[in-house]
């Protein structure tokens, strides 16, 4: 199995499309960090103006922690899109290019091949998020410095630097689980077709529709919200609550993992029965 996963990683790293996410992050993050650095005063005053009535603020609250917290909003749409670029290719591209005619005729089972492809996609997905964390937290610390993290949500939460690092690790870990579910959904579509673009469009369509449903304050939509996987995408935000709502985190991640299992099961059934005609 390790050999098969290594094969799939070779294929992913050999495709130019796989680098779009990394290139995009490498271009955008320095710009964002530069923008934060240049506009630190205005961001700082805007952020602290909400607190000035209750607190006396000394110094700057703006640092790599706060910048990362703001950048994490990319987890809603941007990062899922980058994830689908590799996940959409994972099965469909082999079908379209005729590679299955030399791989599926071997003694290795289709299930093993599919599992190795999914694990490689997961590794790619996690790498993308870790790369994002490297830029925002790693390089960001060099550019913007480090310090306590102040989170303004339904109240004010001040996380001291050491605690903030742990919360960031938890936040990114939960975001990886969210993105794995996105990857599995796209993977399922990829197993159904020989076209890489269809799975990307299909996945993003479902995510955007899900966001729209959860955002519209109608009774009917609120009733069906628990059944929409997008409703649980905000689990990474739970990492920045106090106390950490572990019950909520476990519930949300369980639902996301369950969705991933169901999507992979569907992909397996479809792929194993699929006639390879290309």
């Amino acid at each position: 199995m390790l050999g098969l996963i290594y094969n799939e990683l070779l294929v992913i790293t050999g495709r130019w499309r796989s680098y779009i996410g990394f290139i995009g992050i490498s271009i955008l993050m320095p710009l964002i960090l530069w923008g934060f650095s240049a506009g630190e005063d205005s961001i700082n005053s805007e952020y602290t103006s909400q607190l000035s009535g209750s607190f006396m603020m000394v110094g700057s609250i703006f640092n790599s922690m706060l910048a990362t917290y703001i950048i994490m909003n990319a987890f809603w749409i941007h990062i899922p899109f980058l994830v689908t670029l590799a996940a959409g290719d994972s099965v469909a591209a082999d079908g379209a290019s005729g590679i299955f005619r030399i791989t599926l005729i071997r003694s290795t089972s289709r299930l093993k091949i599919l599992v190795s492809k999914l694990i490689a996609t997961y590794i790619y997905t996690a790498s993308l998020l870790i790369f994002c964390a490297f830029w925002s937290l790693g390089i960001g610390s060099l550019v913007l410095g480090v310090g306590d993290l102040i989170v303004i949500d339904k109240g004010i939460l001040v996380l001291e630097q050491g605690e903030a690092w742990l919360r960031m690790v938890l936040g990114f870990s939960l975001a990886i689980i969210v993105m794995w579910m996105v990857a599995t959904l796209c993977f399922m579509f990829s197993a159904m077709t020989n076209n890489s673009v269809g799975p990307i469009i299909g996945t993003m369509f479902l995510i955007i529709i899900g966001y729209m449903i959860t955002a519209i304050p109608l009774d009917f939509f609120e009733d069906i919200e628990p059944f929409i996987f997008v409703s649980y995408f905000d689990v990474w935000l739970d990492a920045f609550k106090d106390p950490i709502p572990w019950k909520s985190i476990i519930k949300k991640t369980s639902i996301l993992i369950l969705h991933s299992i169901v999507f992979f099961k569907i992909a397996t059934v479809v792929f194993i029965k699929k006639d390879i005609k290309t």
């Binding site: 050999g3 098969l4 290019s97 030399i102 003694s107 290795t108």
Partner: protein, 301 residues
Amino acid sequence: MILEIKNLSKSFGTRKAVENLSLEIPEGSVFGFLGPNGSGKSTTIRMMTDLIRPDEGEVFIQGKSVQKNHHKALGSVGALIEKADFYKHLSAKTNLEMLARMDGIDFSRINYVLDKTGLKNRGEDKVKTYSQGMKQRLGIAQALLSNPKLLILDEPTNGLDPQGMKDVRDLIKDLSSEGITIFISSHLLDEVQKICSHVAMIRLGKLIMTGEVNDLLTEAGVITTEVSVSQLDKAYALLQSIDWVYQTQIVDETLRVSLKKNHISDLVQLLVQNEIQISAVIPRTSLEDLYLSKVGMENIL
């Protein structure tokens, strides 16, 4: 028998691609699988290699069912299905290493198969720099990787120039001499006749006949006779209406007439009676004639 196909059927929608097909392929043979385009050859081969699931029937390789025991049945099989496709951005060697990892084979075998297919000096080159002929040879190399007892080749000479076709033919003869059973599909009857010991012919997904090439040619007694005549068009038109003539073609100012051997004298007599002068009559026997005698002119390959 190394390969047994039992009552194989497959439909795509309402179209029956393969219908109740049964075949037995003897160990050590070079088995030609013939049929016109769209006759169901590729569908049959894809079912043999588990790329397509049959609606009915089963394929057994060394007694193991491909459909029920994929891992064991295909462990001793190498196959090249239609044209060879690889990861173009990777080298031939890397592509073969990936497949060797899948098969659990030592990488030392890669140099052997590259050498065998004449690609040893180009192994490090990316596949996208390969010509069609080289890709096809690489396709055969990947099929040989698992040291197969049965090699399945689907139209292996497609897209190759005459030299490339000869290279593949020589390679098949060489592999056959090593004891590998070879199952080769083609619509090029002349090619098959040059290398095959056994054949099966299918049309519209149904088996027409199967057996040893020499036995079939002897039994059928069908030959192609080359006839040089004075009035080519008149002779051609005349022979179109004769029921014991299976096919007439004009090739290089010569008539090629397919008929049973005992009708050659009738042919000569007929042409003379119609005041057509004959300068030469050269009887030849071929698989093509045998095929035409079985499937009729409407299915000329």
